[in-house]
Assembly symmetry: C2
């Protein structure tokens, strides 16, 4: 794979230029480009520049409003509601997080309901933003149906990721961010391309039978991770990121989408909790004892550490050359 | 298996008498006996009378205070803290739920931190109690270490159940309540007794190797459900039911326990959310569309339905005769 080294500033600027060329205003392009640059910085390339063609497609098709001006509303001391004005999620999120954090620091808990928004990024940016403010963060979104409920054979759930972040004052937070599908669709596609098998339980073929052949799963459906238990969690995400916050389900997002290849409209639920209010004064030192036990075990790595290690390197990143050519054609 | 039919009142009274004989006061014995009776009523026999010898053991050993008088405290409009006064959890919970529900109905979200409590029941009683008040409920507790983190070979996590309930006005709620272990320890013991194998991934033998022989797992350790993803959720439970609410981890609960066979001291985290505040006016009708899609699929059953069907039958329940003899010896 041929790559070209770009500084983080260059990555940001390339993303920004593509987005403004497609009609995004400064505030929206800045928010998305920042999210994309940070993903590249942290080695999460599948959420980096790779996503720009999708973001651009939604601006060009008119599905997404590149000039959205979301205004978070403090509905109760603990509840912030943000109508995304049909824009990409990053601007709505960056404008809402501070108000959400303040709610949690005041009440012990805060919740954010984000609606009418198009989420096309990882979830750790929002949960980490809370953890960096000393708060526990939890977030979930749903997406278009790609996953069959355990026991079923037809897609009803999105890949429905959940993210959790735990603050570690003076250190980078502990963070996980994972799809509730057994495997990301992109990984199945790569396995199919490379002729590899995937573990049984990853998905079903077009006849609804278990298979370890990724080419057959691409004609069929993904399964949730962890069978019935993971399926229950994916169902919870449908409800939390859907009607609980005033938004739709994955199947409705798909029905309402124009098929431009970018993210459909959907909701996001974010929970912020202040352990300094709910817990004891020594909550941080106390939790470090647990992390020390975990880290002392062979084979255990605290989630999020690889990304934070990458982050410490402020140097250039190698970007796929073919992708760069595509992006340069967009701006 | 020889059984004897007992009415629900008789089940309650038997539990109540065993608990008061062992030193519980009226309020505590009533709360635990109600929880036990409801478990028998709903067909959840492993949380029914079967638990009474464990409850009694903790009262006799003095580990648990049978006269605890927990007083929920409204710390912020959205946060209720209950010090369990070292009692069994049911009284603390029954006294706290109304205040928690009111918090959520006022603020859109409410959280309960229960500490210094001994939880030996299912979690659905508390999440269902919220759903019956029109709220979304989520709860988790940790326990003594029995589960190795994915990638590790030593127990650090409890079986760490999570429960979620979604309100369905005019219907019984949708509820799941599941261990984050691949299989409950009791099920592994039964498989060992009956000479059955268990699925690979259930646990490790004493050498830290995967095995499907439950007898070897009993000498080794359980694994989380769903490999690394389930492990991350179990870790989240350790943090949420531990330092987030001012309590300890599973490994600390075990260190501080007297080994009387009853539940160790621990914490519980409960989240209540008002979809009528966060969501749209039609949140309930809207979510029914999703449930209808789920139920229309072959092989899919909404979680909690079996229990609610049992509940509709107010007749007597068949109780294991040997267990009854044991319990009659205790009161």
């Amino acid at each position: 794979m041929t790559t070209q080294a770009l500084t983080l500033d260059e990555i940001y600027q390339l993303a920004f230029d593509c987005l403004t060329k497609a009609g995004a205003d400064h505030a929206n392009a800045d928010a998305v480009a920042t999210t994309v640059m940070r993903a590249e910085r942290d080695g999460s390339v599948s959420h980096g520049l790779f996503r720009i063609p999708g973001y651009v497609a939604t601006l060009i098709s008119g599905k997404v409003n590149g000039c959205a001006d979301p205004k978070p509303e403090q509905v109760t001391p603990a509840f912030v509601r943000t109508h995304g004005q049909n824009g990409h999620a990053p601007l709505a999120l960056s404008r809402s997080i501070e108000m959400l954090a303040k709610s949690a620091l005041t009440c012990g808990v805060g919740v954010l309901s984000l609606t009418h928004s198009h989420h096309f990024a990882a979830l750790w940016p929002e949960t980490e933003a809370l953890a960096e403010r000393g708060l526990v963060g939890f977030a979930c979104v749903s997406y278009t149906p790609m996953v069959a409920p355990a026991g079923g054979t037809q897609a009803l759930f999105g890949t429905n990721p959940i993210s959790f972040a735990w603050p570690r004052p003076g250190k980078t937070p502990l963070v996980f961010d994972m799809s509730t599908a057994a495997m990301a669709m992109g990984e199945v596609q790569i396995a199919a391309r490379d002729g590899h098998s995937v573990p049984m339980g990853t998905g079903l073929d077009a006849n609804g039978e278990l298979t370890n052949d990724p080419r057959e799963i691409l004609k069929g459906v993904l399964l949730p991770f962890g069978a019935h238990k993971g399926s229950a969690i994916s169902m919870m995400v449908e409800l939390m990121a859907g009607p609980m916050v005033g938004e739709g389900f994955s199947f409705e997002a798909a029905e309402g989408d124009n098929g431009d290849g970018g993210p459909p409209q959907g909701g996001e639920f974010i929970l912020a909790i202040a352990p300094q209010i709910l817990g004891s004064d020594n909550w941080a030192e106390h939790s470090e004892k647990f992390f020390a036990k975990l880290e002392a075990m062979d084979g255990i790595r605290l989630p999020g550490q690889r990304r934070h290690k990458m982050r410490a390197d402020t140097g250039p990143r190698n970007v796929n050359f073919q992708l760069l050519e595509t992006l340069r054609g967009l701006c």
